[in-house]
Amino acid sequence: MPNLVLIILFVLFALFRTPLFAVISAIAILSFLSIQTDLSAVIIEMVRLANTSTLIAIPLFTFAGYILAESNTPKRLINLTQALLGWLPGGLAIVVLVSCAIFTAFTGASGITIVAIGGLVFPALIKGNYTEKFSLGLVTTSGSLGLLFPPSLPLILYGLVAQVDIDKLFIAGIIPGILLVLILSIYSVAKNYKIRTQIQKFSFSNLWRATLDAIWEIPLPFIIIGGIYSGIFTVIEASAITAVYVLIVEFFIYKDLSIKKDLFKIMKESMVLVGAILIILASALGLTSYLIDEQVPMKIFDFIQKYISSKYIFLFLLNLFLLIVGMLMDIFSAIIVVVPIITPIALKFGVDPVHLGIIFLTNLEIGYLTPPVGLNLFISSFRFEKPIIKIYSATLPFILMLFIALLLITYIPDISLFLLKLKAS
């Protein structure tokens, strides 16, 4: 048993902006020392980074996501959804939700969406007679919407850490992802039905023009989802195809970006994020193997079981716990640190590991928005130059909507598992 006082001290350091990988490594070092194991054991676990093929997908998808974020894709995406859905009452709000969801799926949830798409649509929302409060809440909430759609980075990372088939997660996330967008859309329409918001008339020529504009980007989701769903290629292959496809489309066909000015910068920037995530994963591998060897998850399970026997109460408490985790930590570290401990416990309670993944990510997505410390709130406050308190109250009704979706996703496993069952039969 490692020294508990020291561990608490380390966690205190973590709360004061110490790099998380250092804190996790420190706890791992302490743990291995407490069982008189040589510290090279920590390093042996780190080498596992090089023994996991699926990890190859992470730099490739991240690179592709960064290219999309830097190019004019956000503009084309908004134009297209605008032409498609802008004629509905509250249409612009739905446009924001749908385009943000698609964009986040490709860029991972690192706040890029709020800056890239939110920045573009916020003035349009205000001009379209939506209230400032509603608009702020909408763009802040949309910033992490779409986490559940393939090929989002958190989905891949969950699959890696929990050792669940990533192909399955990609399929399982689709319906819950649509559910989140749908519930928020219904709320947006209901909220703005009476207000005279500007509505764009539907026109085929408009839609045709927007489609032609984005003609090279439209196939991308279909290639990825279709290719993986039909088994033509694996997730790793999909990542290589996506990277090459996006590179060619944005640099040579649209010429949004120039090789000389942008390419190397994008490569470096994206790999700094990858490095920051993977170094946490590397240090957590050591800690996780210690925890598993010492059967810590089982001990926690035995402890919980004394008080809770129902799967449903367990799931409810899990939701509460994950919301707090999501408030404090970014999604990547949360997955890396918490998943290895929770997964074995949840399995014992009879929760399907794929379903658990979707519950996990939905919680963390909401955690991004939960006051006082949800990350999206700060990004939004910074980007739109509004006081954080204003963002809190603007986002609150949206969070309540997401809670409803969370309860549905948690207690109706088939929302996540239906497509998988369909595919199996």
Binding site: R17, V42, L60, K268
Partner: protein
């Protein structure tokens, strides 16, 4: 201080070039592999181990650049509440914490590489395991250096935070 910055910057440039080469290699080899498998039902045997180890290298070099640019993932809730003076002190402490951890991991990884060096195995095409794993001590070494630099900068430069 100028000299420190100069060294820091040179290392960062080398790292950036390396990371760009590694990512390019991953994109090209990964894509060629897809073409070979789907069009010709064959593949390069060394592609998978190469790609996997490229990930390891990108992880450590990327993490080192993240240290240089102070962009590591962290929990930033309590520092917001501190006064500027206290913030400096806390920042020195947290960076010292990270420095100590990185030095321990540097030492551990050097021991590990020594072990691997004594019992080498070939990973692909004559490349031995320790040649690929050497990036781990290099990475922790560079990160230790960067955390040390940062502490010095916070102490000696007034308006850094």
């Amino acid at each position: 201080m100028k000299f420190l910055n100069f060294i820091d910057e040179i290392i960062a440039r080398v790292e950036t070039v390396l990371v760009i080469i590694l990512l390019s290699l991953m994109v090209i080899v990964g894509f060629v592999q897809v073409l070979l498998r789907n069009l010709f039902q064959t593949g390069l045997l060394w592609a998978d181990p190469l790609l996997r180890h490229a990930v390891l290298w990108i992880a450590f070099i990327g993490a080192s650049i993240a240290t240089y640019e102070d962009r590591h993932i962290n929990i930033d809730i309590l520092t917001r509440l501190l006064s500027p003076k206290l913030k400096r002190l806390v920042s020195i402490l947290t960076n010292a914490f990270a420095l100590v951890v990185c030095i321990i991991l540097f030492k551990a990884s050097v021991d590990f590489i020594k072990m691997e060096f004594e019992y080498p195995t070939e990973v692909f095409r004559g490349v031995k395991n320790w040649m690929l794993e050497i990036i781990i001590p290099i990475g922790f070494g560079l990160m230790s250096l960067r955390f040390l630099f940062r502490i010095l900068k916070i102490i000696f430069i007034k308006n850094i935070l």
